[in-house]
Symmetry: C2
Amino acid sequence: MNIEIERKFLVKSLDFKTESFDKKHIKQGYLNSDKNRTVRIRVADTRAFITIKGKSNKNGTSRFEWEKEIHVSEAEALLLLCEPNIIEKTRFLIQVGKHVFEVDEFAGNNQGLVVAEIELSSEEEGFEKPNWLSKEVTGDLKYYNSNISKLPFTSWK
Amino acid sequence: MNIEIERKFLVKSLDFKTESFDKKHIKQGYLNSDKNRTVRIRVADTRAFITIKGKSNKNGTSRFEWEKEIHVSEAEALLLLCEPNIIEKTRFLIQVGKHVFEVDEFAGNNQGLVVAEIELSSEEEGFEKPNWLSKEVTGDLKYYNSNISKLPFTSWK
């Protein structure tokens, strides 16, 4: 368990794909998508995890997180118990300076949404901004995957 | 993961205590207490577990269950994220014929509530009824621990 410090951005071009050194297919659902406590089941290619997150701090950058690897077969059974709307996305990893950006290209009823995240070791840590990075959306609740599962991108206006 | 088949009873005397071959102190909270999916964090003496249960079948006897042991220190951190009202109880194990009854004597704001459970291998399996066993409450939602945590016994009328 640890405190996760993350910043989140929109993405203005698909140039990140050619710079990516790794990608995986992610399928995830929520056993709870409450803002005070989320319980997520994720299958990422051939591995699966249960992840519990607490409430974000006031600027949305840091959050308690606990994660445990589980069997893919267990995760598939638990996904059936999850709230409606399983999220599917491809996650690209891109090295930018000393940091790795995770860029999620969503599919299904979130088609068109692309979000980049960077994990930092402190709230003050600086980082290099690639040219495909757009507006920061850290702390904007509608970009939380737990909320995207309830209110998918294609339904936004 | 498995399907849990259980029947639940009230208890009319404390005679079960002298017949008990083991007991442990249990503290548990819920990351989700929804009837379709509960996520429970439990510390039982020196061990801890995360348990996910699905919805009961129509007579309340069987239910999908998935459980994983976790560190007590992790469980203590996760209990802080749980919904209000952590349940505390002492669980007594009593051998009755070929079966083991688990009898929970609740504490705190559930003081006075004592419930016995028996796990069966099929819905039809018979079992011996000890003299301290009272009315069956299988399937009665208000006796679910996930509901007791929301509406404690001392508030019942």
